[in-house]
Amino acid sequence: AKKRFFNLYNNFKENIKEVADNLLKGDIQIELENPDDPLNSEFVIKASPFGKRVRAIALLSGGERALLALSIIFALHQVSPVPFCVLDEVDAALDDANTLRFVEFIKKLSYSTQLFIITHNKRTMESGDILYGVSMEDGISRVFSLRLEEIS
């Protein structure tokens, strides 16, 4: 049992390292709070963007936290895949460079996982193959198909 645990544990550490390299551009470290009692120990997560020594999650910026959350989600997804993922404005705090990384990432992910994404962000918008616009008139919402040419 201990062997199986460490197998999955190390596997996950590798998953999240890879996601962190590409998305957060930083290190995400998973540790056991109590290494002498691994099967009962709580987990500890530390993260720091490349070039920064600070590891406490509390010190991360708004955009860095968004990327950390996404890295956690996507790494969990590799361990325990779900058929589809629905995201509502999760890219709101990302700057231009990080938005591009996020878009690259979801494009790769979409080969194995269906994605339904609500966004205000033009870059994210451009990654879609079906595009819908929603409008409201007199308190009633309507949905329209959109073509990408009209938007960019």
Binding site: A1, R4, F5, N7, Y9, F12, I30, L39, S41, E42, F43, V44, I45, I57, R65, A69, L76, H77, V79, S80, V82, P83, F84, C85, V86, L87, D88, E89, V90, A92, A93, I106, K107, S110, Y111, Q114, L115, F116, I117, I118, T119, T124, M125, S127, G128, D129, I130, L131, Y132, G133, V134, S135, M136, D138, G139, I140, S141, R142, V143, I151
Partner: protein
């Protein structure tokens, strides 16, 4: 397993029947503030078995029924349906809210008890939906809960 389409009728700001075809890969939804995008997100959450109206910004289930205005009267019921495809076979899950707050569940048009229905949803999302559907406001919660979730996940998989 994939979603083929989503249907909303009488749900929040969607009084008219609205069908949204879902791409096998990436579907994008845009629009101005307050137009109804998160309402669509909540429609999906609801269809997939959300247990508490508060998580969909309602105080009670009946708050999720289109409340009416000068142009259109209040809806009698709210319905959300999702058509899924698994092993080349389509099936539809549908939920309906009545003005008295009752919620009924259907699979392929057939009424089904909450318990049986939850089992079916659990087959689609064995780890629970918390990590497949999330919005901007969930980011802090995801970071804070991650150590516990991770421990549970690794132990249950081992």
């Amino acid at each position: 397993m994939r979603i083929k389409k989503l249907e909303l009728r009488g749900f929040k700001s969607f009084p008219n029947k609205t069908e949204i075809v879902i791409s096998p890969r990436i579907t994008i939804v845009v629009g101005p503030n307050g137009c109804g995008k998160t309402n669509i997100f909540e429609g999906i959450l609801f269809a997939l078995g959300e247990k508490r109206a508060e998580n969909l910004r309602g105080n009670a289930w009946q708050d999720l029924i289109f409340s009416g205005n000068d142009k259109m009267s209040r809806s009698g019921t709210a319905e959300v349906a999702i058509v899924l495809e698994e092993n080349d076979e389509e099936f539809e899950i549908r939920r309906k809210i009545y003005r008295d707050g009752r919620v009924e569940n259907y699979i392929n048009g057939e009424y089904i008890s909450h318990v049986k229905w939850n089992d079916r949803i659990y087959e689609i999302f064995p780890q629970g939906k918390g990590y497949a559907l999330f919005k901007n406001e969930d980011i802090e919660r995801i970071i804070m809960d991650a150590p516990k979730v991770l421990k549970e996940l690794i132990h249950s998989a081992a």
